[in-house]
Symmetry: C2
């Protein structure tokens, strides 16, 4: 299985984060590894959550916002009582993400235009250099 337990060091190497970071996330209740005596052991679930945390950070979410998002993925076991609310929140998040993607596409288009404009200027300069 992929249910391999990993030490903190293995996690650091695998995800390119420091041990301090992992303990910090744990303190903020973003992940909750098993304790074998003193040592922490990270499960597949922890790895999944960490992956989402790092993703969230890349998109400018605060750790607190990420914690809320993580809760979305951690149901399937608990009662469905609160699920309707969660569902609505998730819908909003989805809309937000899609808006972000659209905006990101716009930014990419703009940047590409700028670069093409720059390329033309560069080629003009090169022509000058050659003809001089």
């Amino acid at each position: 299985m992929t249910d391999q337990l990993m030490t903190i060091r293995e996690m650091c190497d695998a995800f390119d984060v420091t041990a301090r970071t992992l303990r910090f996330y744990e303190q903020k209740e973003l992940i909750s590894p098993i304790r074998e005596g003193q040592k922490r052991l990270y499960t597949r679930k922890d790895r999944g959550r960490l992956k989402l945390i790092l993703r969230g950070k890349r998109f400018g979410f605060s750790l607190e916002e990420i914690r809320q998002l993580l809760d979305l993925y951690s149901l399937g076991d608990g009662q469905t009582t609160q699920y309707l609310r969660t569902y609505e929140i998730a819908q909003k998040h989805l809309a937000d993400l899609e808006a972000r993607r659209d905006e990101l596409n716009d930014v990419i288009s703009d940047l590409k235009e700028q670069l093409q404009w720059g390329e033309q200027r560069l080629s003009q300069i090169n022509e000058k250099d050659v003809s001089a």
Copy 2:
């Protein structure tokens, strides 16, 4: 024209930021409004830059990174000596942005799956309620 000059308050209202934020960005040389006596007056150019700043923040860029991106858009006047370096930086940013968009699309797909899964659970519950 849209070359209307705006006061700091008008900017705050238009972009939903505080005056402190605008002054802070100015101190960091992200924007550079005109000075009429004591007061700041923001041009169309300033508004364009602010828009990009806020966009950048939404995607998790630091202000320092945003400053570099802004420099891309503000050439066309200065020397092209440094442009090659800037061009390379821009290429990297572009690749980064496209990777982000792809990742964002993955996240959106995942979330949609989760939601559909949730919808099925909800409809099952509703059936129970009806048959009870």
